[in-house]
Every structure is written in structure tokens, then in C-alpha cells.
């Protein structure tokens, strides 16, 4: 994706309402619990995201990152706890509803249909149709073609809107998934391990792109288990550990190596206690950071 332009003429107008200024809280989770077959995956999780903010969600495998994301996207429903979008509580969130609220996700699994042409993949779940449900295939092909050249940087003539996903490289697939998320005027963009399987150069481009999202008053949640990928582009780092929020750290106040120490401590003890670091000033700040945990 050469540019990270979200707004474009063909996209539906942004859904929802209310003032959308930088700094207002666009998403909040309160006391979210989730178990699968008796296994506790999330326990009393509080989380929030402000407009224009980029939050890095870190944690080991099995920490509950993907489940937390799938609750925000409406794929899973929490057992307990509430979700607020723009300050309003939303009950029985579904994927469709979340998308209408402006939540777009680039999944780790990419969420593509491999045997289908690119244009069908761009418009999964929200084809352009008339009132009888008849597809406007020409329009969808046209938009796909434009997105391919302008957003994805697919200049090769052999890739057309009718090419199937099987014909794309890993980076191209990632580009497709990201452009799809952007095309529909997302307010909150969630990237689930977006650097997985990407080359160094592709990763760099991706990080650039995330910076671009924040520049546009969109919010982003960036999930990774590698703090190096997240630190430079996130305003805050939230660390999940075994289903609980172990800490919430603004990157403006924590250096990368401090955070790495904290993560190491969290990984071995499950919590982070600021006193042990023996640094008064930093301890006070981290206590503040932990206040929301």
C-alpha cells in the first residue's frame, strides 16, 4: 500500500454519529470476561481507545489478545462486562454491527477466500447491490481495479480484479486485507499480528502505514508479540498476560528497554510491581499507568 488513504468517493459515508474529535474515547471495554469450555481466556479486562490513538496490544501466545480482538469485532460475545462505542453501550455486538460502527480488522488469518477473485474478496459481506440484492459487478470490479493500482501498488498487468487470491504473494495478500479494511471508512482499525510472515521491507512499510492511520484521526489497535514492531508506532502499550491486563504504559514516558524489562517481569511473575525497579520517579509513573489495569 503506497498510500494509506481511507477516504474515497466510492466508500460509504462514515456510519454512526457524534463528535469525532481527537482524544474522545471511541472504544471502551469494562470488566470483560470470556471463557471457552471452562477455560478462562479473559478475566475482568478493562481497555480503552481514544480517537487518533494507536495502542499496541502485547502479550505471549495464549495471553488472550486474539480473543479480546474478536470480542471488539463482534465475532465472540463476552460472558460478562460491557462494550462502549463513542460512550454508548452496545449490546449483542455482531460482526455486521461492529463493521457498521466502523471497526475494521486485518486478521492474522487474513480472512480471505482464496479461490475467489479479488473483487469478491474486497466486498465480502457488503457487496454493492441494488434493493433486490442484485450485485453491481461492474462497479465492484472498477473499484477493485482502482484500489489495486492506487492503494495496493499492484501495477503488474497480469493481476486483474478477476485474479484469484491463490495467485498472490504473502505481502500482496496482506496488502489486499489492509486495503479492504481501509476502503470502508474505518474509525477503528485493528491489525492482528500484521507483521507475521512479512519481509523486513514489507514490515517497515506496514509500520509507516500504521503511522498514517493515526495521522488521519483514525484509531488503531496493533497486536503483536514483538515490542520492537509496536513501540515506535504506539501511543500506549497494553500488556496482556494470561487473560488479564498486566499494565498500560504510555510510550511517551517509558523507554523501550524499560518496557522490555517490565515485559520480562510480567512474563515470569504474571504481574508488574513498580517498587521493585527502585526508581522513584518511574515507579510513580508506572503506578499511574497501572491505575487503569
Amino acid at each position: 500500500m503506497s498510500t494509506a488513504r481511507a477516504a474515497n468517493g466510492d466508500a460509504p459515508a462514515g456510519e454512526g454519529s457524534g463528535p469525532r474529535q481527537r482524544g474522545t474515547r471511541c472504544l471502551e471495554l469494562r470488566g470483560v470476561h470470556k471463557s471457552f469450555g471452562g477455560v478462562r481466556v479473559l478475566e475482568d479486562v478493562d481497555f480503552h481507545l481514544d480517537r487518533g490513538e494507536g495502542v499496541g496490544l502485547l502479550g505471549d501466545n495464549g495471553a488472550g489478545k486474539s480473543t479480546l480482538i474478536k470480542i471488539i469485532t463482534g465475532y465472540h460475545q463476552p460472558d460478562r462486562g460491557s462494550l462502549l462505542f463513542d460512550g454508548r453501550e452496545v449490546h449483542d455486538l455482531t460482526v455486521q454491527k461492529a463493521r457498521e460502527l466502523g471497526v475494521e480488522t486485518v486478521y492474522q488469518e487474513r480472512a480471505l477466500a482464496e479461490q475467489q477473485p479479488l473483487w469478491r474478496n474486497i466486498f465480502i459481506g457488503r457487496d454493492i447491490t441494488n434493493r433486490a440484492g442484485i450485485l453491481d459487478v461492474a462497479q465492484m470490479r472498477r473499484i477493485t481495479e482502482r484500489l489495486m493500482t492506487e492503494e495496493m501498488g499492484f501495477t503488474s498487468a497480469v493481476l486483474t480484479p478477476d485474479t484469484t487470491v491463490t495467485g498472490l504473494s504473502g505481502g500482496e495478500r496482506q496488502g489486499l486485507a489492509i486495503v479492504r479494511a481501509l476502503h470502508f471508512e474505518a474509525e477503528i482499525i485493528i491489525l492482528d499480528e500484521p507483521t507475521m510472515g512479512l519481509s523486513l521491507k514489507e514490515t517497515e512499510k506496514l509500520l509507516h502505514f500504521v503511522e498514517g492511520i493515526r495521522g488521519k484521526e483514525k484509531s488503531a489497535i496493533f497486536i503483536d508479540h514483538n515490542i520492537f514492531h509496536v513501540y515506535s508506532v504506539a501511543d500506549r502499550i497494553v500488556i496482556l498476560d494470561r487473560g488479564r491486563v498486566a499494565g498500560d504504559f504510555p510510550t511517551s514516558r517509558y523507554k523501550l528497554d524499560e518496557l522490555m524489562d517490565i515485559m520480562r517481569e510480567v512474563a515470569s511473575t504474571g504481574t508488574y510491581s513498580p517498587d521493585r525497579r527502585g526508581n522513584g520517579a518511574a515507579a510513580a509513573e508506572s503506578a499511574e499507568g497501572l491505575a487503569s489495569a
Binding site: 465475532y75 486478521y107 488469518e109 482464496e114 479461490q115 465480502i124 459481506g125 503488474s156 514489507e202
Partner: protein, 335 residues
């Protein structure tokens, strides 16, 4: 995702618009060639039969009995499901016809009743598959017995003469021969056109392809998976009831085992037509051609002078050759 990845893949360079077209329609082109070859063989070996219009009029009447169901079944299979219960729905729908027709004397109401029973049977399949969460293969093996058993119990194993429906406009609509071409064929054309639009130009079909391709993707992207699958089972039920009615009214008799011979030819038509058993890929056009290949073989074998003993052998060979062609084309054009 970037200029250099897009420019680098040399292996893809040089593919023209023609290759793109061939790739997109490889399966359809393959099945058309196979169909024309088979036809040519029959014309050469039995010119007397295959140059007269009589045999085509016969095909136009008998092939729709299973081709109509094959159209709806193609969509079910593209969604990654299967329905093996439709032969029983063909008969169960006729129970609905006979009862209402008996009670009211109206053939038209009987027709509507049969279609309603077909829809209900399909709804039952769809609900068991999605709500209980069982594989459709297993569920429809069960309902195949269930619906057939229900039919036998409801009519106590009796057959019904339908001679009195003769001359009724509702029956004419299903069995007349306008312009010398059986209504069965006109209905097939209509059903095929509807199925094509639904699968290729409608939201239902768009969702069907994604569900059959990758259910997880479909779920993550918010596609109504259960609703879509249920609708497809209902459509198959309605198609089966329609075909069962045409068949019974044509022979002016309904017997409770009607339809049971159509299971394999219908499935064969879908798979010969290039629809993938794994879901995500399939074409209405392919099924249409496949149905006429399957429908033509039996008559063709007799016409070229072979005994009926050869029929199954040649069926098997043609089915295997066709699906192999599809698999090879698929591998060649999709990397």
C-alpha cells in the same frame, strides 16, 4: 503490497487477456469440449438416431426431472454442503399434492401444496444442519430415510392415479408441449436462469461462494452463514418438489418410491459440470451441460447398438474422465 513485489514476479509475466479468460472459464470450456466430443461420437456411431429431432425432444422431457434439482444442488455444494435427501423430497412433495388435490379438487392448490412441502422439508434439513451443527452429508442421509419413510407411512404404501388432472391448466403448465418442446425443458431453462442469477449476480450467491471457500473468513467478515445455508436447502427442497410433480404428472401416477433413481444422476451432473465437492467453486452452466451428458448417455448407448449392460460402465468412465479434466485444468490454471 508494494511496487517491487508487483513488478518482480516474472513467472506471471506474459499472461495475456486470453489466458486470463481461459483461466476463469477453464472448467466451463473443458466440459463444453467433452460434451461436444461425446455428441460427435454418438452422431457418428448412430447417425439415424442423433440427427432426428425425436431423441432431442425426449431428452428435453426426461433430463429436467433431475437437472432442475441439480441447479439448486449446485449452489448447496458450492456452499460446501450436500443434500442427499432430495429424491425423498420429490415423493414427499407429491403427498402434499395428492392430499390437497383430493380434498379440494384443485390441481393448482395441489401444486402450491407440493412446493410448500418441499420448502418445509428443505427448511428442516437446513435447521438440523445449522442449529444442531451436524455435517449436511450425515443429516441428509438421515432425512433421506426420514422423508421417504414419512411418505410411505402417510400414503400407506399406495400409489395414486392422477388421470383426473388431465386438461387442468395447472397441469398443462408443467407438462404441455408448446412449440413441440416439453414444458419440462422450459422450466429447466427458467430454473437454470434463476439459479445462475442467484449464484453469480446476487448477494446470496456471493455469500455462498465465500462460505464454501472458507467458513472462518465468512464468519470473521460477518456473513450470515446459517441463514444462507438454510435458504439453499429450502431452494433445493422446492426444486425437488417441482421435479417430482412434473415426473408424476407426466406418467399420471404417483407411487411412494418415486424419485429414488435420481440421486446418482443428479450428483453426477453437478460434479461432471465442474463443481467442487470441497465447495467454493462451481457453475450453473457446467451443471446444465453435465445434466445433458448424463441424460444423453443411456439413450446414446442403446442407439449406437450396445446392450444396456454397458450403461453403468460408460457412465462411470465418463464421470471419471470429466472430473479428472476439471482437476487437471484447475491445477494448471490456478497456482
Amino acid at each position: 503490497m508494494s511496487a517491487e513485489t508487483a513488478a518482480s514476479p516474472g513467472k506471471r509475466a506474459g499472461r495475456s487477456a486470453l489466458t486470463e479468460y481461459t483461466q476463469r472459464y477453464a472448467s466451463q470450456i473443458g466440459i463444453t469440449v467433452a460434451f461436444l466430443l461425446l455428441w460427435a461420437v454418438f452422431i457418428v456411431l448412430a447417425p439415424g438416431t442423433f440427427t432426428s429431432d425425436l431423441i432431442y425432444k425426449s431428452f428435453a422431457q426426461t433430463t429436467p426431472y433431475f437437472a432442475i434439482v441439480a441447479m439448486a444442488l449446485t449452489m448447496v455444494i458450492v456452499a460446501g454442503d450436500i443434500d442427499l435427501s432430495f429424491p425423498s423430497i420429490m415423493a414427499l412433495g407429491m403427498v402434499g399434492f395428492v392430499w390437497v388435490w383430493d380434498a379440494t379438487g384443485s390441481t393448482a392448490l395441489g401444486v402450491l401444496s407440493a412446493l410448500g412441502v418441499g420448502a418445509a422439508a428443505g427448511l428442516f434439513n437446513g435447521l438440523v444442519v445449522t442449529v444442531v451443527g451436524l455435517p449436511s452429508l450425515v443429516v441428509t442421509i438421515g432425512t433421506q430415510f426420514l422423508f421417504r419413510g414419512l411418505t410411505l407411512v402417510l400414503v400407506a404404501g399406495k400409489s395414486f392415479a392422477l388421470v383426473d388432472t388431465r386438461g387442468d391448466p395447472a397441469r398443462e403448465l408443467l407438462n404441455a408441449k408448446p412449440f413441440g418442446i416439453p414444458m419440462e425443458f422450459w422450466w429447466l431453462l427458467l430454473v437454470a436462469a434463476i439459479a445462475w442469477v442467484l449464484l453469480n449476480r446476487h448477494r446470496l450467491g456471493a455469500n455462498t461462494y465465500i462460505i464454501g471457500d472458507n467458513k472462518q473468513t465468512a464468519g470473521l467478515m460477518g456473513i450470515p452463514i446459517a441463514r444462507t445455508r438454510i435458504i439453499l436447502f429450502v431452494l433445493t427442497g422446492v426444486a425437488a418438489a417441482l421435479a417430482g410433480m412434473m415426473n408424476s404428472l407426466q406418467i399420471v401416477n404417483f407411487y411412494p418410491n418415486m424419485g429414488s433413481g435420481y440421486l446418482l444422476p443428479t450428483l453426477a451432473a453437478v460434479f461432471v459440470g465442474g463443481t467442487s465437492v470441497f465447495g467454493g467453486r462451481g457453475s450453473i452452466y457446467g451443471t446444465f451441460i453435465g445434466a445433458f451428458m448424463i441424460g444423453g448417455i443411456a439413450a446414446g448407448i442403446i442407439a449406437v447398438g450396445l446392450t444396456d449392460f454397458w450403461t453403468n460402465l460408460i457412465y462411470g468412465a465418463i464421470i471419471l474422465i470429466s472430473i479428472s479434466i476439471h482437476a487437471i485444468l484447475q491445477r494448471r490454471f490456478q497456482r
